[in-house]
């Protein structure tokens, strides 16, 4: 039982963390609340489904192509639609909602409203702590951990990462130090959407695909990003762990818990905000004129 909860939580935490880190980065650097963020995750899932089931490509190649496709899509949309509107905050908000709806409808149009699934990459399972864990799960966990370490490395150890962190703090001063804000923002969008794409790609064999699959993760990701503190990497990781664990506990321990898991995690978010209005690791953004 406990083992089940932990394994489940770990997996969800990884996926949520990938989505939340991207969302949070994009908010921090480009200052957009991207409500279409998880729609890109959905697109990646469908992309894989198409490439594997219809085009018959091997899964790793399909994953790679899907991520590239999602990144290209996200960057093009960002440069064409969002970037020119960035000063109109509320307009950006509904642009991203509309964008999510467009993607949802496009998926519906091409793939129909049925539930789809992608065959797993590996068969078989291992027994850990008395829990049967499929190799697919382990593989997924490995990829998740690898991706998060890679993001951490980019952010903390590279010049791009320095520019991202500095711009998230104070974009005017970052510019004054020679950092091209528009380029940094675009690259951040690329990284964030790559993470969303990867998340979508690796859960495709485990979860079920349907055109509304972006909605639930979206609320969870918003909760995590707020809970952890908007713009904070550490916050996203901790927030994802907290929410994923809470969800698993509710689902396993509370009768009808599946209905309550969203409510429960959002309840936690509100509680945390009441105690710390800027989130657990909130960054107080420098006021700009």
């Amino acid at each position: 039982m406990l083992g089940n909860i932990l394994v489940n939580a770990l997996m969800n935490a990884g996926v949520y963390a990938m989505l939340a880190v991207g969302f949070s980065l994009m908010f921090g650097v480009a200052r957009i609340i991207n409500l279409a963020h998880t729609a890109f995750y959905m697109v990646a899932g469908y992309c894989i489904f198409y490439l594997v089931s219809t085009a018959g490509l091997p899964l790793p190649l399909a994953i790679l192509i899907s991520i590239v496709a999602v990144v290209v899509l996200a960057v093009v949309v960002y440069r064409l639609l969002i970037d020119p509107m960035r000063e109109h905050e509320t307009t950006v908000l509904i642009l991203t909602i509309a964008l999510a709806l467009v993607l949802q409808e496009a998926m519906l149009l091409w793939f129909g409203g049925y539930f789809r699934s992608v065959p797993a990459a590996t068969a078989g399972y291992a027994t850990i702590l008395g829990v049967r864990v499929s190799f697919q799960y382990l593989l997924t966990l490995g990829v998740l951990a690898g991706a998060l370490v890679a993001v951490w490395f980019v952010l903390m150890k590279t010049k791009l990462g320095l520019a991202i962190r500095a711009t998230a703090q104070d974009r005017e001063i970052a510019e004054v130090m020679g950092m091209d804000e528009s380029r940094t923002a675009t690259l951040t969008v690329a990284i964030a959407s790559a993470l969303a794409g990867l998340a979508g790609a690796i859960v495709a064999p485990l979860y079920i695909l349907e055109p509304r699959m972006w909605l639930n993760p979206l609320t969870i990701v918003l909760a995590i990003a707020v809970l952890g503190g908007l713009g904070s990497l550490k916050g996203s990781l901790f927030g994802a762990a907290i929410i994923a664990l809470a969800e698993s506990l509710v689902v396993f321990l509370v009768p009808q818990g599946a209905f309550l898991k969203g409510a429960f995690s959002l309840g936690i978010m509100i509680l945390v905000l009441l105690i710390r209005p800027e989130g657990l690791f909130g960054v107080a953004f420098e006021e700009e004129r």
């Binding site: 960035r86 000063e87 109109h88 320095l162 510019e175 004054v176 130090m177 020679g178 804000e181 960054v283």
Partner: protein, 265 residues
Amino acid sequence: MPEVPETLGAPEALLEVKGLSVRYDTAVLLNDVTLRVDAGETVGLVGPNGAGKTTLLRTVAGLVHWEREKKRGTRAGNIVIEGQVVFGGQRIDRLPPHGIARLGLVLVPERRRPFRELSVLDNLRAGAYLVRDPKEVTRALETVYGLFPILRERGGQLSGTLSGGEQQMLAIGRALMTRPRLLCIDEPSTGLSPRVRREVLAKIKDIGRTGITILLVEQDVSLAFALTTRNYILSHSRVVAEGTSEELMADERLRQRYLGVAGTA
């Protein structure tokens, strides 16, 4: 493109501001401002609150133009910039701030504005963003540490937790890391105790001695005039006087109107 030297400017003019006006909607922030800073000089810019000193530095650093480009089409976007800013013989008034930084003009902003959630070392590294050679970064770091030893001690600390004086040193150090030709410093002494104030200003004097050109905005006129070669007085968006510290101090009218109550925060 080789620059044809203008007849009125001596060849070593590093920064020239010509007939610069800035308006935010109907508010006039700068009105036909003309000034120059020659290479190697430390030039002071003083004047009452709201005179437009910060606006001048922000315009020179490209931030006003950048703000205008970003906000174009919004309600707050009606910003007008007229006139020219020439740096090292090149017009920079249409460049983005990062392009201006690349040419060697850097701003130490009002209220210091360190990247608060970044460590002191990362702040300095952010300053060296444009420096490609890691060896040069190390050398610049050593220079900054030589000037402000406290920053070496505080390397791992989050800059938001530094004291006001330390934050000011960090802001100056961060700007020096870009290896600038012109350092524009906006009110470095505000909010500091008299002792730290003198210390910071002394360091600025040292920086000037190393050959870096400085444009200094300062409330504390007596402190500022002690290290500047030439000064401009800005009032109500206009330049009202120009001259060496002695000349300006000798003018009774100016002293009473603009320089008199200097020295107290």
